[in-house]
């Protein structure tokens, strides 16, 4: 209702607010130039939130993925259609060594696989765009190749992240990547498996989002 819009805006403008200049205090979040410190802080943050972190070099990646899936006795994995490590993911889950594992490729509208995603899939596997060391955080930019629900609906989320993409803090990330120029439909910061302390302040994991988060840290640095 444009009358409501105008009424609200004119009420606000009647107060004649004097616009304040940009503040001179600068934000000082955690920052480090020490690669080892940065890496460790990232790992510590995620571990403290009950995520599993597995470090691997590039070559061993598809074995690591395979081992996770096998050791957790997952039988159905959902994956996207592209990404830097897409072939490793495919290789790990569709090899002759893992006949028991079925894959579901998210290559159609969600309406065509919604029930399967909710009820049958054990884990969704995605790439990450970046990581934040300060808070132990994964940064996901879901897109056509890896849709939003892939990292959300299945009870386990397996996330692949390159060491070289981990930066110190959130502010630094959005500034160096100039997010303000090109925001995607959705960005999600993930810092652990789902949790809640709503019942008598007692922490419990696996509320609505994935109850397991497995982070594969690819040591490319």
């Amino acid at each position: 209702m444009s009358t409501s819009r105008n009424a609200i805006l004119s009420r606000l403008r009647d107060a004649n607010p004097e616009a304040k200049a940009m503040e001179t205090i600068t934000y000082q979040p955690w920052v480090s130039n020490d690669a080892q410190l940065t890496r460790q802080r990232f790992i510590d943050g995620l571990s403290a939130s009950h995520a599993e972190i597995i470090s691997t070099d590039r070559d061993a990646l598809n074995n690591v993925i395979k081992n996770i899936v096998v050791s957790k006795q997952f039988s159905r994995i959902a994956l996207g259609t592209a990404g830097e490590f897409h072939s490793d993911i495919v290789k790990a889950t569709q090899s002759l060594e893992t006949p028991a594992i079925e894959t579901m490729t998210f290559d159609c509208d969600i309406s065509d696989l919604k029930s399967a995603l909710f009820n049958d899939v054990d884990a969704g596997i995605t790439h990450c765009r970046a990581g934040i060391a300060d808070t132990g955080t994964l940064v996901l930019w879901p897109d056509i190749s890896e849709p939003r629900t892939l990292s959300l609906v299945p009870p386990c989320h397996i996330a692949l992240i390159k060491r070289s993409t981990i930066v110190s803090n959130f502010a630094e990330l959005m500034v160096t990547q100039t997010w303000q120029n090109n925001m995607p439909t959705n960005i999600v910061l993930v810092s652990g498996p789902s949790k809640t302390a709503d019942i008598q302040q007692t922490l419990a994991y696996g509320a609505h989002g994935p109850s397991q988060l497995v982070v594969i840290l690819i040591e490319d640095m």
Partner: protein, 486 residues
């Protein structure tokens, strides 16, 4: 339907009945214990998250400055937000009050023949009584935040803005599930209780026609809605259903994307002592061409409902700096002892006291603004430095006096005005500025101390009456001086 406050029906709680509601809460030992335990826990969590006083000061100063800058430009930022959201494909609606907001949401729902709305956590949706209004139209609103879910099962209302079921212990949660859910085995195991919630709600996310959420920060620069959560139900509600409706108060706008990280850090640490929440969700548009999931329609409802009244002058505007962390109520000695329901308002505790008069009028909320000793524990922890005791002082003045010159009347202006009290205060002011009269009074009090009544009404219900000294200091000093002279 839930009983709370020793038999007062939950739906009848109102700020006008604050005295009775508070009295009943104070007499409830289980409530007192639950809240004391919960507040101790939350205070401790916050303390650990702000272990460095210099850093704490820095982030609070910065957060205050950011919120004040953004508020100072609010009308322009709202227009910028609208433009950028609209360019992104988000449909923006403006609602002056609850009625308009509900009408907007009803219209969207009816256009989609929606039978159910699954809700992430939104205090603004409580403010407009969305569930109740939609139910009248045959649209079911399902709470998915664990705390809100528990509260909804019970026909109850949230008692805290971050942890809605804080007034319940795990036994009471188990009882709630047992009473309302089929095939539930009572348990005190919190993991099992949470798994119960998870499994019962999962299908709702799958089936819902519409997902509704609040907004923690709305970024004008990019037309982005930011949502803070731990559970994942927010992501579910804003990703799975085909329609997403976000509702927010108009004060939640920030100017730049870079305003978000410090405010987000201040919020999570102040609310639950977390460095970061499990998820931070940034939504800038509905599903774009080629994308395979996500809502095809995203709506943003901007709600005024009295916020523009708080905006009117620079002092009162500080009320709107709030980022809804709940730290104020976690540290409030009054809230700790009476719990959230006793206020009878959607927003309880210190922040509730200073915004409810703008949303509901001073006539209904005049007892809330005096229900504070002005101890300042709230202001001491507010991440955006709202001077809550000063806001209360200001509201007390507005409740007793006409508006300042050149200011329009507030809703409920002079609602607590009392001729008798006003005269007494004028008398006090006169006496205090005319020493001889004042000292006559104090002299008489000392002379009549034996006649001091032992029953001073409310004071003496738990204290003995104070006894004046036999001579005032003034008299003693005077006597000393005269003694020195002679």
């Amino acid at each position: 339907m839930s009983q709370s406050n020793n038999g007062v029906h939950i739906q009848e709680l109102a700020p006008e009945h604050f005295h009775d509601q508070a009295k009943a809460a104070l007499a409830d030992p289980q409530l007192r214990q639950n809240f004391r335990g919960a507040m101790d826990y939350l205070q401790d969590k916050r303390k650990t998250a702000f272990s460095n006083p210099a850093e704490e000061k820095h982030i609070r100063d910065l957060s205050e400055a950011i919120r004040q800058r953004c508020l100072s430009k609010l009308p322009d930022l709202l227009e910028q937000l609208e433009t950028n959201c609209t360019n992104n494909g988000i449909q923006v609606h403006w609602a002056q009050n609850a009625e308009e907001a509900n009408a907007i949401i009803a219209a969207i729902s009816q256009r989609h023949n929606a039978k159910s709305i699954v809700k992430g956590k939104s205090m603004v949706s409580e403010e407009i009584e969305l569930n109740h209004e939609m139910a009248k139209l045959g649209i079911e609103c399902l709470e998915s935040d664990m705390g809100e879910y528990i509260v909804q099962l019970d026909g109850d209302k949230p008692s805290h803005i971050i942890m809605p079921a804080i007034h319940k212990n795990k036994q009471e949660v188990s009882d709630t599930f047992e009473k309302n859910l089929d095939n539930f085995t009572p348990t005190l195991d919190v993991d099992e209780l949470i798994q119960t919630g998870r499994s019962r709600l999962r299908q709702k996310f799958h089936d819902a026609d519409i997902g509704l959420s609040g907004v923690n920060f709305a970024v004008a620069e990019t037309g982005t809605l930011c949502l803070v959560e731990n559970e994942g139900n927010g992501r579910m509600c804003t990703t799975v259903p085909n329609v997403h409706i976000a509702i927010t108060g108009i004060e939640k706008v920030v100017e730049f994307l870079t305003d978000v990280p410090p405010l987000y850090s201040a919020l999570t640490r102040s609310a639950t002592g977390q460095a970061i929440t499990t998820y931070f969700n940034m939504i800038s548009s509905p599903r774009r061409d080629g994308e395979l999931d996500g809502p095809e329609e995203v709506h943003l409802v901007l709600l005024d409902n009295g916020r523009s009244q708080a905006f009117r002058d620079e002092e009162m505007r500080k009320t709107l700096q709030c980022i809804r962390c709940g730290a104020c109520m976690n540290h409030c000695p009054v809230y700790t002892r009476i719990g959230g329901h006793a206020y009878g308002t959607v927003y309880p505790g210190p922040i509730g006291k200073i915004i409810s008069p703008h949303m509901m009028g001073l006539e209904k909320t005049k007892d809330l603004i005096t229900a504070s000793s002005l101890c300042g524990a709230c202001g001491e922890v507010c991440p955006v430095r709202i001077p809550i005791p000063e806001m209360l002082q200001r509201l007390r003045n507005e409740a007793k006096n006409p508006p300042k010159p050149d200011m329009p009347a507030m809703r409920g202006q002079e609602a607590a005005a009392s001729k008798a009290e006003s005269l007494a205060m004028k008398g006090f002011a006169f006496a205090a500025s005319h020493p001889s009269i004042y000292h006559m009074g104090t002299w008489s009090a000392t002379k009549m101390k034996a006649l001091m009544p032992s029953n001073l009404g409310p004071w003496t219900q738990c204290r003995t009456a104070p006894k004046p000294a036999s001579k005032t200091l003034h008299q003693l000093i005077k006597a000393r001086k005269q003694g020195e002279k002679s």
